[in-house]
Symmetry: D2
Subunit: 117 residues, 4 copies
Protein backbone atom coordinates (compact mmCIF):
# COMPACT_ATOMS: atom_id res chain seq x y z
CA UNK A 1 0.00 0.00 0.00
CA UNK A 2 1.19 3.50 -0.82
CA UNK A 3 0.32 5.32 2.40
CA UNK A 4 0.92 8.76 0.92
CA UNK A 5 -1.37 8.13 -2.01
CA UNK A 6 -4.09 6.47 0.01
CA UNK A 7 -4.15 8.77 3.03
CA UNK A 8 -2.51 12.05 2.05
CA UNK A 9 -3.54 12.81 -1.54
CA UNK A 10 -6.25 15.18 -0.29
CA UNK A 11 -3.76 17.70 1.09
CA UNK A 12 -0.84 19.59 -0.50
CA UNK A 13 2.82 19.19 0.46
CA UNK A 14 2.63 22.55 2.21
CA UNK A 15 -0.40 21.44 4.19
CA UNK A 16 1.27 18.19 5.15
CA UNK A 17 4.40 20.01 6.30
CA UNK A 18 2.13 22.03 8.61
CA UNK A 19 0.14 18.96 9.69
CA UNK A 20 3.13 16.81 10.63
CA UNK A 21 4.76 19.70 12.48
CA UNK A 22 1.56 20.38 14.40
CA UNK A 23 1.25 16.73 15.41
CA UNK A 24 4.82 16.58 16.66
CA UNK A 25 4.55 19.86 18.56
CA UNK A 26 1.37 18.77 20.35
CA UNK A 27 2.96 15.40 21.05
CA UNK A 28 6.21 16.82 22.38
CA UNK A 29 4.42 19.17 24.79
CA UNK A 30 2.16 16.51 26.27
CA UNK A 31 4.83 13.79 26.38
CA UNK A 32 7.41 15.73 28.36
CA UNK A 33 5.48 18.21 30.51
CA UNK A 34 5.82 16.94 34.10
CA UNK A 35 9.38 15.59 33.72
CA UNK A 36 11.63 16.42 36.69
CA UNK A 37 14.37 18.85 35.55
CA UNK A 38 17.01 21.20 36.95
CA UNK A 39 20.00 23.12 35.67
CA UNK A 40 22.16 19.98 35.65
CA UNK A 41 19.77 17.77 33.66
CA UNK A 42 18.38 20.50 31.38
CA UNK A 43 20.74 19.93 28.46
CA UNK A 44 20.40 16.17 28.46
CA UNK A 45 16.64 16.49 28.49
CA UNK A 46 16.72 19.03 25.64
CA UNK A 47 18.81 16.68 23.50
CA UNK A 48 16.59 13.66 24.26
CA UNK A 49 13.42 15.57 23.36
CA UNK A 50 15.09 16.61 20.10
CA UNK A 51 16.28 13.09 19.22
CA UNK A 52 12.94 11.48 20.14
CA UNK A 53 10.83 13.76 17.99
CA UNK A 54 13.22 13.78 15.04
CA UNK A 55 12.04 10.19 14.58
CA UNK A 56 8.51 11.22 13.64
CA UNK A 57 7.32 11.48 10.01
CA UNK A 58 8.55 14.47 7.95
CA UNK A 59 10.60 15.92 10.83
CA UNK A 60 13.98 17.18 9.62
CA UNK A 61 15.19 18.83 12.78
CA UNK A 62 14.06 19.76 16.29
CA UNK A 63 15.56 22.51 18.47
CA UNK A 64 14.60 22.52 22.14
CA UNK A 65 15.42 25.14 24.74
CA UNK A 66 14.14 24.84 28.30
CA UNK A 67 13.94 28.12 30.24
CA UNK A 68 14.51 27.56 33.95
CA UNK A 69 15.18 31.20 34.91
CA UNK A 70 12.56 31.73 37.57
CA UNK A 71 12.96 28.44 39.36
CA UNK A 72 16.29 28.72 41.08
CA UNK A 73 15.14 28.01 44.63
CA UNK A 74 14.33 24.33 44.10
CA UNK A 75 16.39 21.14 43.80
CA UNK A 76 14.32 20.44 40.71
CA UNK A 77 10.97 21.33 39.19
CA UNK A 78 8.39 19.71 36.90
CA UNK A 79 8.79 20.78 33.28
CA UNK A 80 5.86 23.03 32.31
CA UNK A 81 4.73 24.34 28.94
CA UNK A 82 5.75 27.89 29.85
CA UNK A 83 9.41 26.81 29.95
CA UNK A 84 9.42 25.41 26.42
CA UNK A 85 10.99 27.19 23.46
CA UNK A 86 10.93 24.72 20.59
CA UNK A 87 11.31 24.81 16.80
CA UNK A 88 10.29 21.77 14.75
CA UNK A 89 11.54 21.79 11.16
CA UNK A 90 9.45 19.73 8.75
CA UNK A 91 10.04 18.94 5.10
CA UNK A 92 7.54 17.41 2.64
CA UNK A 93 8.68 17.25 -0.99
CA UNK A 94 10.05 20.74 -1.69
CA UNK A 95 8.26 22.49 1.16
CA UNK A 96 9.91 23.33 4.45
CA UNK A 97 8.15 24.63 7.53
CA UNK A 98 9.17 25.65 11.03
CA UNK A 99 6.62 25.11 13.79
CA UNK A 100 7.32 27.05 16.98
CA UNK A 101 6.21 27.05 20.57
CA UNK A 102 7.26 29.92 22.81
CA UNK A 103 5.93 31.61 25.88
CA UNK A 104 4.33 34.94 24.89
CA UNK A 105 4.48 37.54 27.66
CA UNK A 106 1.38 39.41 26.49
CA UNK A 107 -0.71 36.25 26.28
CA UNK A 108 0.70 34.72 29.45
CA UNK A 109 0.78 31.29 27.85
CA UNK A 110 2.93 29.30 25.42
CA UNK A 111 1.71 29.69 21.82
CA UNK A 112 2.15 27.16 19.00
CA UNK A 113 2.31 28.72 15.53
CA UNK A 114 3.89 28.37 12.08
CA UNK A 115 7.03 30.50 12.27
CA UNK A 116 8.22 29.99 8.71
CA UNK A 117 6.88 28.35 5.57
CA UNK B 1 -2.62 42.21 20.52
CA UNK B 2 -4.51 40.40 17.79
CA UNK B 3 -2.99 36.93 18.04
CA UNK B 4 -4.48 35.75 14.77
CA UNK B 5 -3.11 38.70 12.83
CA UNK B 6 0.31 38.63 14.45
CA UNK B 7 0.95 34.87 14.46
CA UNK B 8 -1.36 33.27 11.91
CA UNK B 9 -1.57 35.64 8.93
CA UNK B 10 1.02 33.55 7.06
CA UNK B 11 -1.30 30.55 6.71
CA UNK B 12 -4.78 30.12 5.26
CA UNK B 13 -7.88 29.15 7.21
CA UNK B 14 -7.65 25.70 5.64
CA UNK B 15 -4.04 25.34 6.74
CA UNK B 16 -4.88 26.47 10.23
CA UNK B 17 -7.75 23.98 10.48
CA UNK B 18 -5.21 21.26 9.63
CA UNK B 19 -2.58 22.70 11.97
CA UNK B 20 -4.79 22.95 15.04
CA UNK B 21 -6.19 19.48 14.44
CA UNK B 22 -2.69 18.04 14.10
CA UNK B 23 -1.58 19.68 17.34
CA UNK B 24 -4.56 18.33 19.26
CA UNK B 25 -4.19 14.83 17.82
CA UNK B 26 -0.51 14.62 18.73
CA UNK B 27 -1.31 16.04 22.15
CA UNK B 28 -4.18 13.66 22.84
CA UNK B 29 -2.10 10.59 21.95
CA UNK B 30 0.84 11.50 24.15
CA UNK B 31 -1.25 12.78 27.04
CA UNK B 32 -3.37 9.68 27.53
CA UNK B 33 -1.25 6.74 26.34
CA UNK B 34 -0.32 4.80 29.50
CA UNK B 35 -3.59 5.44 31.37
CA UNK B 36 -4.96 2.35 33.16
CA UNK B 37 -8.22 1.26 31.48
CA UNK B 38 -10.63 -1.66 31.33
CA UNK B 39 -14.11 -2.36 30.01
CA UNK B 40 -15.71 -0.64 33.01
CA UNK B 41 -13.74 2.62 32.79
CA UNK B 42 -13.49 2.79 28.99
CA UNK B 43 -16.52 5.00 28.41
CA UNK B 44 -15.68 7.48 31.14
CA UNK B 45 -12.15 7.79 29.79
CA UNK B 46 -13.44 8.28 26.23
CA UNK B 47 -15.73 11.11 27.38
CA UNK B 48 -12.97 12.78 29.44
CA UNK B 49 -10.53 12.71 26.52
CA UNK B 50 -13.22 14.25 24.33
CA UNK B 51 -14.10 16.99 26.81
CA UNK B 52 -10.45 17.81 27.57
CA UNK B 53 -9.41 18.28 23.96
CA UNK B 54 -12.56 20.14 22.93
CA UNK B 55 -11.08 22.96 25.02
CA UNK B 56 -8.17 23.51 22.63
CA UNK B 57 -8.17 26.26 19.96
CA UNK B 58 -10.37 25.71 16.86
CA UNK B 59 -11.64 22.32 18.07
CA UNK B 60 -15.38 21.94 17.41
CA UNK B 61 -15.82 18.32 18.39
CA UNK B 62 -13.84 15.24 19.42
CA UNK B 63 -15.00 11.62 19.07
CA UNK B 64 -12.99 8.98 20.92
CA UNK B 65 -13.36 5.22 20.71
CA UNK B 66 -11.03 2.91 22.64
CA UNK B 67 -10.73 -0.63 21.24
CA UNK B 68 -10.06 -3.15 24.01
CA UNK B 69 -10.90 -6.32 22.00
CA UNK B 70 -7.71 -8.27 22.41
CA UNK B 71 -7.12 -7.57 26.06
CA UNK B 72 -9.78 -9.54 27.84
CA UNK B 73 -7.52 -11.59 30.15
CA UNK B 74 -6.40 -8.71 32.36
CA UNK B 75 -7.98 -6.72 35.18
CA UNK B 76 -6.85 -3.65 33.29
CA UNK B 77 -4.28 -2.58 30.73
CA UNK B 78 -2.31 0.55 29.84
CA UNK B 79 -3.90 2.53 27.02
CA UNK B 80 -1.75 2.24 23.88
CA UNK B 81 -1.89 4.09 20.57
CA UNK B 82 -3.09 0.97 18.75
CA UNK B 83 -6.34 1.08 20.71
CA UNK B 84 -7.21 4.64 19.70
CA UNK B 85 -9.85 5.50 17.10
CA UNK B 86 -10.31 9.26 17.26
CA UNK B 87 -11.81 12.00 15.10
CA UNK B 88 -11.02 15.64 15.87
CA UNK B 89 -13.27 18.16 14.13
CA UNK B 90 -11.74 21.61 13.64
CA UNK B 91 -13.26 24.78 12.28
CA UNK B 92 -11.44 27.96 11.24
CA UNK B 93 -13.58 30.65 9.59
CA UNK B 94 -15.56 28.73 6.96
CA UNK B 95 -13.27 25.71 6.76
CA UNK B 96 -13.98 22.47 8.54
CA UNK B 97 -11.56 19.55 8.84
CA UNK B 98 -11.64 16.11 10.43
CA UNK B 99 -8.33 14.74 11.69
CA UNK B 100 -8.32 11.00 12.32
CA UNK B 101 -6.18 8.44 14.08
CA UNK B 102 -6.91 4.77 13.55
CA UNK B 103 -4.96 1.55 13.66
CA UNK B 104 -4.23 0.40 10.09
CA UNK B 105 -3.91 -3.39 9.79
CA UNK B 106 -1.59 -3.27 6.76
CA UNK B 107 0.76 -0.78 8.41
CA UNK B 108 0.59 -2.38 11.85
CA UNK B 109 0.51 1.01 13.52
CA UNK B 110 -1.95 3.82 14.23
CA UNK B 111 -1.93 6.46 11.47
CA UNK B 112 -2.83 10.14 11.86
CA UNK B 113 -4.25 11.74 8.71
CA UNK B 114 -6.73 14.33 7.44
CA UNK B 115 -9.93 12.38 6.88
CA UNK B 116 -12.05 15.20 5.52
CA UNK B 117 -11.49 18.82 4.54
CA UNK C 1 2.98 -18.75 39.94
CA UNK C 2 1.99 -17.05 43.16
CA UNK C 3 3.09 -13.49 42.47
CA UNK C 4 2.68 -12.39 46.06
CA UNK C 5 4.82 -15.19 47.39
CA UNK C 6 7.50 -14.90 44.74
CA UNK C 7 7.82 -11.10 44.56
CA UNK C 8 6.39 -9.65 47.75
CA UNK C 9 7.35 -11.99 50.60
CA UNK C 10 10.25 -9.69 51.53
CA UNK C 11 7.98 -6.86 52.65
CA UNK C 12 5.15 -6.66 55.21
CA UNK C 13 1.52 -5.93 54.42
CA UNK C 14 2.00 -2.46 55.84
CA UNK C 15 5.01 -1.87 53.62
CA UNK C 16 3.13 -3.10 50.59
CA UNK C 17 0.18 -0.82 51.32
CA UNK C 18 2.65 2.07 51.32
CA UNK C 19 4.46 0.79 48.21
CA UNK C 20 1.37 0.34 46.05
CA UNK C 21 -0.01 3.71 47.12
CA UNK C 22 3.29 5.41 46.31
CA UNK C 23 3.39 3.82 42.86
CA UNK C 24 -0.15 4.93 42.07
CA UNK C 25 0.41 8.47 43.34
CA UNK C 26 3.56 8.93 41.25
CA UNK C 27 1.78 7.40 38.27
CA UNK C 28 -1.32 9.56 38.62
CA UNK C 29 0.70 12.78 38.79
CA UNK C 30 2.82 12.06 35.74
CA UNK C 31 -0.03 10.60 33.68
CA UNK C 32 -2.41 13.52 33.97
CA UNK C 33 -0.25 16.63 34.42
CA UNK C 34 -0.57 18.59 31.16
CA UNK C 35 -4.22 17.68 30.48
CA UNK C 36 -6.32 20.65 29.30
CA UNK C 37 -8.90 21.51 31.96
CA UNK C 38 -11.33 24.27 32.95
CA UNK C 39 -14.23 24.73 35.34
CA UNK C 40 -16.60 22.86 33.02
CA UNK C 41 -14.43 19.76 32.53
CA UNK C 42 -12.92 19.66 36.04
CA UNK C 43 -15.42 17.23 37.56
CA UNK C 44 -15.35 14.78 34.67
CA UNK C 45 -11.56 14.75 34.78
CA UNK C 46 -11.56 14.21 38.56
CA UNK C 47 -13.89 11.21 38.20
CA UNK C 48 -11.85 9.71 35.33
CA UNK C 49 -8.59 10.02 37.25
CA UNK C 50 -10.29 8.31 40.20
CA UNK C 51 -11.74 5.47 38.12
CA UNK C 52 -8.49 4.91 36.19
CA UNK C 53 -6.29 4.55 39.23
CA UNK C 54 -8.77 2.49 41.24
CA UNK C 55 -7.86 -0.25 38.74
CA UNK C 56 -4.29 -0.55 40.02
CA UNK C 57 -3.21 -3.25 42.51
CA UNK C 58 -4.29 -2.83 46.15
CA UNK C 59 -6.13 0.45 45.50
CA UNK C 60 -9.44 0.55 47.35
CA UNK C 61 -10.46 4.12 46.62
CA UNK C 62 -9.16 7.32 45.04
CA UNK C 63 -10.39 10.85 45.79
CA UNK C 64 -9.31 13.61 43.41
CA UNK C 65 -9.88 17.34 43.77
CA UNK C 66 -8.49 19.78 41.21
CA UNK C 67 -8.01 23.35 42.48
CA UNK C 68 -8.49 25.88 39.68
CA UNK C 69 -8.85 28.99 41.89
CA UNK C 70 -6.12 31.17 40.48
CA UNK C 71 -6.71 30.48 36.83
CA UNK C 72 -9.95 32.22 36.04
CA UNK C 73 -8.75 34.41 33.17
CA UNK C 74 -8.21 31.58 30.65
CA UNK C 75 -10.51 29.45 28.50
CA UNK C 76 -8.58 26.49 29.85
CA UNK C 77 -5.23 25.65 31.42
CA UNK C 78 -2.85 22.68 31.57
CA UNK C 79 -3.27 20.63 34.72
CA UNK C 80 -0.24 21.10 36.98
CA UNK C 81 0.87 19.30 40.10
CA UNK C 82 0.13 22.34 42.27
CA UNK C 83 -3.59 21.97 41.50
CA UNK C 84 -3.81 18.37 42.69
CA UNK C 85 -5.35 17.36 46.01
CA UNK C 86 -5.55 13.57 45.97
CA UNK C 87 -6.05 10.77 48.47
CA UNK C 88 -5.30 7.18 47.44
CA UNK C 89 -6.65 4.52 49.81
CA UNK C 90 -4.81 1.21 49.71
CA UNK C 91 -5.55 -2.05 51.46
CA UNK C 92 -3.24 -5.08 51.80
CA UNK C 93 -4.50 -7.88 54.02
CA UNK C 94 -5.66 -6.09 57.19
CA UNK C 95 -3.65 -2.91 56.64
CA UNK C 96 -5.14 0.27 55.26
CA UNK C 97 -3.19 3.34 54.19
CA UNK C 98 -4.04 6.73 52.77
CA UNK C 99 -1.45 8.33 50.50
CA UNK C 100 -1.91 12.05 49.96
CA UNK C 101 -0.68 14.73 47.61
CA UNK C 102 -1.46 18.34 48.40
CA UNK C 103 0.11 21.69 47.68
CA UNK C 104 1.89 22.95 50.82
CA UNK C 105 2.01 26.74 51.01
CA UNK C 106 5.21 26.83 53.11
CA UNK C 107 7.06 24.50 50.76
CA UNK C 108 5.64 26.05 47.59
CA UNK C 109 5.26 22.63 46.01
CA UNK C 110 2.91 19.65 46.11
CA UNK C 111 4.03 17.05 48.67
CA UNK C 112 3.33 13.31 48.57
CA UNK C 113 3.16 11.66 51.98
CA UNK C 114 1.45 8.91 53.98
CA UNK C 115 -1.53 10.63 55.60
CA UNK C 116 -2.86 7.67 57.55
CA UNK C 117 -1.74 4.12 58.26
CA UNK D 1 9.22 23.78 58.92
CA UNK D 2 10.86 20.39 59.26
CA UNK D 3 9.10 18.47 56.48
CA UNK D 4 10.41 15.11 57.63
CA UNK D 5 9.18 15.61 61.17
CA UNK D 6 5.82 17.04 60.20
CA UNK D 7 4.92 14.69 57.36
CA UNK D 8 7.03 11.55 57.69
CA UNK D 9 7.32 10.78 61.41
CA UNK D 10 4.53 8.19 61.09
CA UNK D 11 6.60 5.85 58.93
CA UNK D 12 10.02 4.20 59.43
CA UNK D 13 13.11 4.84 57.33
CA UNK D 14 12.59 1.46 55.71
CA UNK D 15 8.99 2.33 54.86
CA UNK D 16 10.01 5.67 53.44
CA UNK D 17 12.70 4.07 51.28
CA UNK D 18 9.95 1.86 49.83
CA UNK D 19 7.51 4.76 49.53
CA UNK D 20 9.83 7.12 47.66
CA UNK D 21 10.97 4.33 45.33
CA UNK D 22 7.37 3.39 44.57
CA UNK D 23 6.47 7.00 43.77
CA UNK D 24 9.41 7.39 41.41
CA UNK D 25 8.75 4.07 39.66
CA UNK D 26 5.11 4.90 39.04
CA UNK D 27 6.10 8.38 37.91
CA UNK D 28 8.83 7.17 35.56
CA UNK D 29 6.53 4.68 33.85
CA UNK D 30 3.71 7.14 33.23
CA UNK D 31 5.98 10.04 32.28
CA UNK D 32 7.89 8.27 29.53
CA UNK D 33 5.53 5.63 28.10
CA UNK D 34 4.58 6.87 24.63
CA UNK D 35 7.94 8.48 23.82
CA UNK D 36 9.15 7.78 20.25
CA UNK D 37 12.26 5.58 20.39
CA UNK D 38 14.46 3.42 18.17
CA UNK D 39 17.83 1.74 18.37
CA UNK D 40 19.65 5.02 17.70
CA UNK D 41 17.89 7.06 20.40
CA UNK D 42 17.54 4.29 22.97
CA UNK D 43 20.69 5.05 24.94
CA UNK D 44 20.10 8.78 25.11
CA UNK D 45 16.57 8.19 26.33
CA UNK D 46 17.78 5.69 28.95
CA UNK D 47 20.30 8.23 30.30
CA UNK D 48 17.72 11.05 30.36
CA UNK D 49 15.20 8.93 32.24
CA UNK D 50 17.93 8.06 34.75
CA UNK D 51 19.08 11.65 35.21
CA UNK D 52 15.50 13.01 35.49
CA UNK D 53 14.41 10.62 38.19
CA UNK D 54 17.64 10.80 40.17
CA UNK D 55 16.41 14.31 41.06
CA UNK D 56 13.48 13.04 43.10
CA UNK D 57 13.60 12.75 46.91
CA UNK D 58 15.65 9.89 48.41
CA UNK D 59 16.72 8.55 45.00
CA UNK D 60 20.39 7.56 45.00
CA UNK D 61 20.62 5.95 41.58
CA UNK D 62 18.46 4.90 38.64
CA UNK D 63 19.34 2.24 36.06
CA UNK D 64 17.21 2.10 32.92
CA UNK D 65 17.32 -0.48 30.15
CA UNK D 66 14.90 -0.31 27.23
CA UNK D 67 14.32 -3.64 25.43
CA UNK D 68 13.57 -3.08 21.74
CA UNK D 69 14.16 -6.68 20.56
CA UNK D 70 10.86 -7.43 18.93
CA UNK D 71 10.40 -4.15 17.15
CA UNK D 72 12.99 -4.18 14.40
CA UNK D 73 10.64 -3.60 11.46
CA UNK D 74 9.81 0.01 12.26
CA UNK D 75 11.61 3.34 11.93
CA UNK D 76 10.62 3.91 15.51
CA UNK D 77 8.05 2.81 18.05
CA UNK D 78 6.28 4.27 21.09
CA UNK D 79 7.91 3.26 24.36
CA UNK D 80 5.65 0.83 26.23
CA UNK D 81 5.80 -0.52 29.76
CA UNK D 82 6.72 -3.99 28.51
CA UNK D 83 10.05 -2.64 27.23
CA UNK D 84 11.12 -1.20 30.58
CA UNK D 85 13.72 -2.82 32.82
CA UNK D 86 14.45 -0.33 35.59
CA UNK D 87 16.06 -0.34 39.01
CA UNK D 88 15.55 2.64 41.34
CA UNK D 89 17.92 2.75 44.31
CA UNK D 90 16.62 4.70 47.30
CA UNK D 91 18.30 5.58 50.55
CA UNK D 92 16.69 6.95 53.73
CA UNK D 93 18.95 7.26 56.76
CA UNK D 94 20.73 3.89 56.94
CA UNK D 95 18.22 1.95 54.81
CA UNK D 96 18.74 1.18 51.16
CA UNK D 97 16.15 -0.27 48.82
CA UNK D 98 16.04 -1.27 45.17
CA UNK D 99 12.69 -0.96 43.42
CA UNK D 100 12.43 -2.87 40.16
CA UNK D 101 10.17 -3.00 37.14
CA UNK D 102 10.64 -5.81 34.65
CA UNK D 103 8.47 -7.65 32.17
CA UNK D 104 7.56 -11.07 33.60
CA UNK D 105 6.96 -13.68 30.88
CA UNK D 106 4.58 -15.77 33.01
CA UNK D 107 2.46 -12.76 33.95
CA UNK D 108 2.61 -11.17 30.50
CA UNK D 109 2.98 -7.73 32.02
CA UNK D 110 5.66 -5.56 33.64
CA UNK D 111 5.72 -5.97 37.43
CA UNK D 112 6.87 -3.38 39.97
CA UNK D 113 8.30 -4.88 43.16
CA UNK D 114 10.91 -4.36 45.91
CA UNK D 115 13.96 -6.27 44.66
CA UNK D 116 16.22 -5.62 47.62
CA UNK D 117 15.89 -4.04 51.03
Amino acid sequence: MDVNEKYFSNITSRERAIFEGGISMGALFHQFVGTPVNIKTKEGLERTIEESFKLQPAIEDVEVKINLNDNTGFDYISLSGDMLDVRIHTVVDDVKAIIRIEYIEELNYPLMYVEEI
